[in-house]
């Protein structure tokens, strides 16, 4: 499959703005890029208005680098901070109404499968904790029950950041926020467990202070969603505004939270392991490798 559609038409090359010329000549389309190479190629994310030092920005940046085929990916987002950056990336972005994301993505993915039967078009939902765990909850769960083949990524800043600090279902118990002055009364929703129960083939819990791990999770999740089933990634992406974290301490905070309630967790179904091993050459999931590690135990 030639990637001519991410190049400019002959004659117009030089008239394109610099950002686009860089993207065409030095961008990641059709190439294998990884976070260890950042700084040497043009990223698909452009300048955007999210707050300085926001961990969500970092996570979005890493995810966009990690997409296995950005030229064939559509991202679905919604109201909330994340869309401010995602909409500035050189991948098509669909803005679902607040709460609609997983319903929109279901339709989109099915449409793409019909329209391009011989090709994978990845659909990735990237939305806030409020957007997914509160108002979008039923559509999120039902997309999993129906085994819709796309990836859902929760940008979990444990607050409604975009609207000034209300508590969400993902806020930690006891947290006092600007618009939740009495403190959160009930536990943080255990979404990863719900995802597993509802039938996700891949579930991961990550923090952005391990870029390589973020990259691996996003890659696996998008690949598995192509043929095996729904996948879910939940990322801690602190809001330094609502939680008053000094911007140069954001990574320190991420580390503390990782030790507290965000230890790396990953679940991969047996089908997904087999698929990764057979189709994408993941050696660690090949049958033999699994048997030897089990024998060693």
């Amino acid at each position: 499959m030639s990637l001519d559609y991410v190049k400019s038409t002959p004659g117009f090359e030089k008239f394109m703005p610099k950002d686009y010329r860089d993207l065409i000549d030095h961008g990641p389309f059709g190439k294998k890029v990884s976070v260890s190479q950042v700084g040497t190629f043009k990223e698909i994310l452009e300048e955007h208005p999210m707050c300085a030092g926001c961990a969500m920005t970092l996570f979005i940046r890493l995810s966009l680098i990690a997409l296995p085929n950005p030229e064939d990916t559509i991202i679905v987002g919604t109201a909330g901070c994340g869309r401010l950056a995602i909409s500035q990336a050189a991948v098509p972005f669909v803005y679902g109404n607040y709460g609609d994301t997983n319903a929109v993505a279901s339709g989109l993915k099915r449409g793409l499968m019909t329209r391009f039967p011989d090709k994978h078009k990845d659909v990735v939902v990237m939305a806030g904790d409020g957007g997914l765990a509160d108002i979008g909850f039923s559509m999120l769960m039902h997309s999993w029950f129906r085994k819709e083949k796309f990836t859902t990524i929760m940008l979990d800043n444990e607050v409604y950041g975009n609207t000034g600090g209300q508590e969400s279902g993902m806020t930690n118990i006891g947290s006092v926020l600007k618009m939740a002055p009495l403190g959160k009364k009930f536990e943080k929703i255990d979404m990863p467990d719900l995802a597993r129960t509802a039938g996700c083939a891949y579930v991961a819990l990550v923090v952005p202070n391990n870029p390589k791990r973020v990259e691996q999770c996003i890659k696996k999740a998008t690949l598995i969603a192509r043929e095996v089933g729904p996948t879910y990634i939940q990322a801690y992406t602190s809001c330094n505004i609502e939680y008053a974290i000094p911007t140069d301490k954001v990574m320190e905070d991420a580390k503390n939270v990782e030790n507290d309630r965000y230890q790396f967790k990953e679940y991969i179904s047996e089908d997904a392991k087999q698929y990764l091993a057979e189709k994408w050459g993941y050696k660690e999931y090949a049958k033999k490798a699994i048997q030897t590690t089990e024998a060693a135990k």
Binding site: Y5, G11, Y20, A89, A90
Partner: protein, 253 residues
């Protein structure tokens, strides 16, 4: 300045779609009773007219207006398929007939916030910035999807005195002051010829330099331009095999 009252209520007279600035929220031309042209027709200031007459008016405006500019959209700028390729060449043919024309691309529709480079590009969410910065008073849009043409054309009419021309591959655009429809590559080339004819009849000499970028920056050298045109003309006489010569919004064919 908000929506002017007379626009909302006076519907007995035909609405004339002329260059702005028309105020903060100009009415959609369709809501003022302007209809899309039928095949073989175009619109001149909202009025259905024979296509040849529209093309002549386009030529006159582009040759006499201040800082004429062509804004190619994504359907022209990206190499979706072979048709996009030869259509792009036809757009360059048009540029080749207009002295001191600028080509400023609209490569995609992302919001481009917090900043855009108005000399390098135009963005449908704030096209007025590019128009103001480059003091453009007449422009052609080609290859912009309908929904973003809607937005762009209305915003330009709202806040600038620029005359807008939509060379449309579908049914024409009623929010542009001049528009022709069904513009495939052969119609684009016909437009280039009309511009040449009108230019010669007006005694305006042919351009001596290649088209500029925004801010009248030199983008391609005369030698490069000759090469681009030569390749383009070869392509037009000899379209690539198996080329789907149909129009439509779906670029992946």
């Amino acid at each position: 300045m908000y929506l002017k009252k007379e626009h909302l209520y006076k519907r007995d007279e035909p609405y004339v779609l002329k260059p702005g600035p028309e105020g903060y929220v100009p009415p959609a031309a369709a809501s003022m009773g302007i209809e899309l042209p039928d095949p073989g027709e175009g619109l001149i200031y909202g009025c259905k007219t024979n296509e040849d007459a529209v093309m002549e008016e386009i030529a006159k405006q582009m040759l006499t207006g201040k800082n004429p500019t062509i804004f190619p959209g994504p359907l022209v700028l990206w190499n979706w398929n072979d048709h996009a390729k030869i259509k792009a060449q036809a757009v360059l043919e048009i540029a080749n007939e207009i002295p001191r024309v600028m080509i400023i691309p609209m490569p995609d529709y992302r919001p481009k916030y917090p900043k855009i480079e108005p000399e390098e590009e135009i963005n449908p969410n704030h096209p007025n910035l590019t128009i103001w910065h480059n003091k453009i008073e007449v422009c052609i849009f080609v290859g912009v999807h309908c929904h973003y043409a809607n937005l762009t054309l209305k915003m330009i009419r709202a806040g600038t005195n620029c005359l807008t021309i939509a060379v449309c591959a579908e049914q024409g655009h009623e929010d542009a002051m001049l528009t022709v429809r069904d513009s495939d590559d052969s119609k684009l080339r016909r437009l280039a010829q009309v511009i040449r004819k009108v230019r010669e009849s007006m005694g305006i000499p042919a351009p001596t330099r290649p088209p500029f970028g925004g801010g009248k920056r030199e983008i391609v050298t005369p030698e490069e331009w000759t090469k681009i045109r030569k390749e383009g003309l070869a392509m037009a006489g000899n379209p690539p095999k198996g080329m789907p010569l149909r129009e439509g919004q779906m670029p992946h064919v």
